[in-house]
Symmetry: T
Subunit: 70 residues, 12 copies
């Protein structure tokens, strides 16, 4: 975190396999519209249950990206 | 909350009548620019006082909308 | 809150109309199986959005009821 | 919130009807002794249950009023 | 989270392998006595250490299940 | 906290003498219906005042007990 | 907590002996100027150390008293 | 923080220059009516923006003062 | 905070000199793309250390701006 | 808390008798290796249950000690 | 957590693969200088992003180890 | 925050002038015994009042330093 101005976006990603999978889904999808994403922080970890098993994990993130100087 | 990536926006709505009115004002205004809003969570409830009475309620929300797959 | 032992249950109620309606739905439904409910505390207020409008409110409560002495 | 010094009072109001009613009861009663109240913030929402129904709502507020310059 | 009343149970599961394993152990064991579990939220992640290594993970969850209408 | 699944109950105990007395009242009463209680965590400490003195202490606990394997 | 408006005062009491002693010191001293105190809630428990021993406990409270109707 | 009973007041001060200026404005104004103020704790730091610049800082404090023995 | 709908952006600014400098850097940079910014709230204050000295301060803000009516 | 630099250590003490006993056990043990301990703050109060009774209390503390100038 | 005094250390570990890997890196490295580590608790989960992908996970832990009696 | 293991120390610094001065006092003093300090996070900002003015600021920090690989 060097000497920049960052903007933060909040995202929720999901995955049937793992918490890391849900994080990567959110980061990967957001990367299509936001350049220069640098770090994230997990805000909340949730999930859904079907038939007595975890059907998917959902992770809420705050992710920071640099605003280029203009 | 199915298997999607959500983006979250934070909003403050206000109403002279009620807390629900302030929530609906925020959701309704944001719906003009954001499609596919799905859920919200109340972060803070405040208000203003004039002449010893509540003049309006203000509610801060986090609202999630789906990012379509591309 | 007199000199008793209380047990606490956590509940989520919902209503299309209002936050109070969601609280009352949870208290009313729980009252079918739990006697002696005495107080509640709001833990979280959320809701769902459909077509750019609030479709229903959801309120998470902690509600306390007395355990009778045996 | 302009360029003033505010003092904050914490209050609990109650109402048989609604959360807004409990807020207004607290603001109205405090207005009898405190002039210049300007804003409030909800700290906690609770209530009592009798006979399986909500008997009244209780809302704890922090309310700010201006200290006049002397 | 549709228009239902949910009851919430708090659980701690554990696993020698992973955080996801601890979540699944709790959900699976609770599913033997609670029907209709729908979602969970991670409250706390802990673990034990033996011989300088993680011996098992422990995850505290809040899990919600629907109360059927009667 | 070994390799088990725990369920958590939330309780409020009270005592005219002390905080420890309020904790013990809650644990002792709950022990009549729940076997295998193992640990507790204090969530909140409150009390009542009568005639300018503390009339009783009230302590809210989260207590964990093991679910036997079936 | 019946159907009243309460005002809340925040206090810190101290005692060389115990946490309960610190609470009682605060409640007792405040009772000299505030009538109708009804309940308290512990906000923070601290203390001082001298010569490797606890020299006194300090407890911060929020205490509620009824505002009489006028 | 020696062996006294303290009462706590909550204040908001503001300054066009700095966070420290806002703290000092609140402490200085409150000192006109409260004797024996001893310490403070910052609860929240906010501010206003005009024309894309910070127009003033606002800091919410909890400040403790000793109640003299009577 | 009058009767408007606000949207909130989260930002991180940095400065080699001071916390106020970091806040102003974030507000100033964001003001290039967001009109009508009105207030901010400090969420977190961090910094970097080089050679045993603070090399720069980093402040995370939530800043609110009005959405014009359409 | 005068004009010093403090370092903080986090400790957990336990006692079969009381919360104060657990605090004193932690302070007393730490005093064997840390000089100049000045204050503490309770972070968490927990305990163990055996045979339906509290077997011991455990209290987590943050304790501050002065770093002498060199 | 038996009848001991524990000291707590706070650590940040990192891993390119997983959250569990970051926890194990911190526990393993700390085990080189601290004997008798017994448990940990996750305080924060963060990570870095490079080229639109997670480059590594970082997990902040509080880990407790027993102080032997002397 | 690259791919390292960090240890965290908690510190309180103080200054008669400013919050930044208190942070720098803590970082500077700790730098005499801890090498490789990299970042800090403000946990709490407090201060003392004498004669109705701020006599000094006190800031509690969590500061991270790298543990070298062995």
């Amino acid at each position: 975190m060097e000497d920049h101005v960052y903007k933060i976006v909040e995202l929720v990603g999901s995955s049937k396999q793992s918490i890391e999978g849900a994080i990567e889904a959110a980061i990967s999808r957001a990367g299509k519209t936001v350049r220069n994403m640098r770090w994230f922080e997990v805000v909340q970890t949730r999930g859904h249950v079907e038939g007595g098993k975890v059907s998917h994990y959902q992770v809420m993130l705050r992710a920071g990206f640099t605003l280029e100087k203009e």
